[in-house]
Amino acid sequence: MAKILLVEDDQTMRTILKTLLEIEGHQVATLPDRKKPDEILPFINGDVPDIMLVDVHLQNQSFNGYELVKRLRAEGGPELSHVRVVMSSGMDVKELCIQSGADAFLMKPYMPDELIELLSDQ
C-alpha cells in the first residue's frame, strides 16, 4: 500500500478520494490550502510520499499543478526523485502534464476505481 499526497483544492473531491483511498489501505495526506511556493518542497520533504495526485488547477494555492510538478522535478533532489506523480484536469492536457514531469494523467470526471487502478500501476 502506498503513501499518497493529495494536492486537490476541491473539498468534495478531496474528502471522497481520501476516504476511498484509505478504505483501499493507502496512507493519505493532503496539502493544506494557501501554501507559498517556497513552502511546497519542505512540506513534501517532511513526509515523503510514494505518489502525489496533483490537480492542474489549484484555486486555493498561489501556484498551479504544472508549477508544482516542475519545481518538484527540478529542485526535489534525490529524496524526492522517486515520487510518482499523477496529474488530473477537466481538460485534456495530458501532454502538458507529462512535459511538466508527471508520470501519468487522469481526465476528470473520473471514477475512484479508475484512479485506484492507475495507482496500482505506479
Binding site: Q11, T12, R14, T15, I16, K18, T19, L20, I23, E24, M111, P112, D113, E114
Partner: protein, 171 residues
C-alpha cells in the same frame, strides 16, 4: 446551510455483531468532512419493518424530521434478503429516480455489476432518502456521484430562499 444527515446501515451480520460495520463509519467520515451534521447513526438487520420504521421515524413529517437526508447502506442487491428498496418505497411519498440513475450510470463506468443495483431514492415530507450499496467503497463511490446536488436538493425541500441561487449554480 446546515444539512443534517442520518446514516442507516442495513446488514444482518452487522446487526448481530458478527461483522464490523465499515460502510456506516465511511459515510460518517465523508459527511463530517463535507461540514454536514451527522444527525443519527444506526444498524438494523435486513428486516422490512425494522428498516421502514427507522426511515419513518427519522423522516418524520414537515415539522418533526430529525434528518434532511437519510443515507442507507446495504440490502440493494439481488440476494433474497435484500429488501432495502422495497422498504424505502413503502415510506417515500415522491420518487427521485434521477439520483439512483446517476449513481448507476457512474458505477457502470467501472463495473457492469452496477446493473444489478436495485437502489432507489425518494422523498418523505422534507427528507430525502437515498439507498447506497453495502460495501464501504461502493457506498462512498455512489455518494460521490450525487453529492454535489444534495445541498440544492435540501434547499428545495426546505423551501430555502437560497434554492433559486442553487438552480443558477447548477445550470
Amino acid at each position: 446551510m446546515n444539512i443534517r444527515v442520518a446514516i442507516l446501515t442495513i446488514s444482518d451480520r452487522s446487526a448481530r455483531g458478527e461483522r464490523a460495520d465499515e460502510s456506516g463509519p465511511a459515510l460518517v467520515k465523508v459527511v463530517q468532512q463535507q461540514g454536514w451534521q451527522v444527525a443519527e447513526v444506526k444498524i438494523v438487520s435486513d428486516d422490512f419493518e425494522a428498516i421502514a420504521s427507522v426511515l419513518r421515524d427519522w423522516a418524520g413529517d414537515n415539522q418533526t424530521n430529525t434528518a434532511d437526508i437519510i443515507l442507507t447502506t446495504g440490502g440493494t442487491g439481488f440476494a433474497p434478503r435484500d429488501i432495502t428498496p422495497e422498504a424505502t418505497r413503502s415510506v417515500i411519498e415522491r420518487d427521485a429516480p434521477g439520483l439512483a440513475e446517476a449513481m448507476r450510470s457512474a458505477s457502470l463506468r467501472v463495473t457492469p455489476h452496477a446493473m444489478l443495483s436495485r437502489a432507489c431514492a425518494g422523498i418523505r415530507a422534507r427528507c430525502l432518502i437515498i439507498n447506497l450499496p453495502g460495501s464501504p467503497k461502493g457506498a462512498v463511490e455512489n455518494l460521490w456521484a450525487v453529492i454535489d446536488v444534495l445541498p440544492h436538493a435540501v434547499a428545495l425541500l426546505k423551501e430555502s430562499p437560497t434554492a433559486e441561487a442553487g438552480h443558477q449554480k447548477l445550470a
